[in-house]
Symmetry: C2
Subunit: 140 residues, 2 copies
DNA sequence: TCTATTGTGGACTAAAATAATCTTAAATCA
DNA sequence: TGATTTAAGATTATTTTAGTCCACAATAGA
């Protein structure tokens, strides 16, 4: 049994973004990304569509269409990517106002969950897509 | 959409342990815990059984049976509890040897995932059941 | 010893989340 | 026009998580 934080979804998504960023200047198609990064194409398309909707990537339809980054990679945090695909990071639903736990005021765990949440957020905020691209190129 | 780290399972489990620890000296039944902490009893029993198997709680069968802590609460980390119920914490399955990603050596993400994983582990290791009990009593 | 009570273990079912696929349409280029 | 490529919605499949059920074993107390 394994407690995974990052899902396959996100793994695909990050790799796709690294590929797009590493080829900046060109428009790359979903097919390219799929072939190069070994990601099932239909699933990849869904992931890319999400990135387009939040304004992280530009898309171009038609022949020779594809995708390019809409932001500078150094302005894109890992947190932004992860939350785009896995939802807002929250240690525990019970902390939220809506659907929140009625027991929250006396909750012995609340503050600890909040602290943990913040650590993760800070850390993921501190890593940018540019950092990942640099590592990718260094290993190529 | 929400990316939760702590599952309901674990929320129940931690609350059960806090209750058991707060009543140390007494044996408390699953029924007691269920009533006081508002946890579905059958599910709670499954959770408690896991704690028993890993030697975290003692169980006593028969009339007036129930559960007690097997360790000093200051020796029980939150990580230990979370991993007992959600499995070993791993940022991403692709890091593991078995089922590991063949692309791992060039992976631009690997080191970042490892660092993040370690931060979470350190943090959860630093909080003990005793800390939670103290907060619980302070709020009671 | 008998009976209530309480935990154990395994099988089972239900619900939700995640992953993946399919289909039709719309845009664009040559 | 025809090939290519993204968009969007519906649908299905798979996996994980949550929850339930039941027969059994142990124990306390009458």
């Amino acid at each position: 049994m394994l407690m995974e934080i990052i899902r396959r979804n996100t793994d695909y998504g990050v790799r796709a973004l690294v590929y797009i960023a590493a080829n900046s200047g060109n428009i790359v198609s979903a097919k390219d990304i799929s072939d190069q990064m070994e990601i099932p194409i239909e699933f990849l398309q869904k992931i890319l569509q999400k990135f387009v909707r939040i304004g992280l990537v530009n898309s171009y339809r038609g022949a020779h269409g594809g995708f390019s980054l809409a932001k500078d990679p150094s302005e894109v945090s890992v947190l932004e990517i992860v939350e785009a695909l896995q939802g807002k990071l929250s240690m525990n639903k019970c902390l939220l106002g809506k659907d929140g736990c009625p027991r929250a005021p006396q909750c012995p765990l609340k503050n600890n969950w909040i602290n943990m949440e913040q650590k993760l957020i800070d850390f993921m905020n501190g890593i940018t897509l540019q950092d990942l691209v640099d590592q990718y190129k260094a290993n190529a």
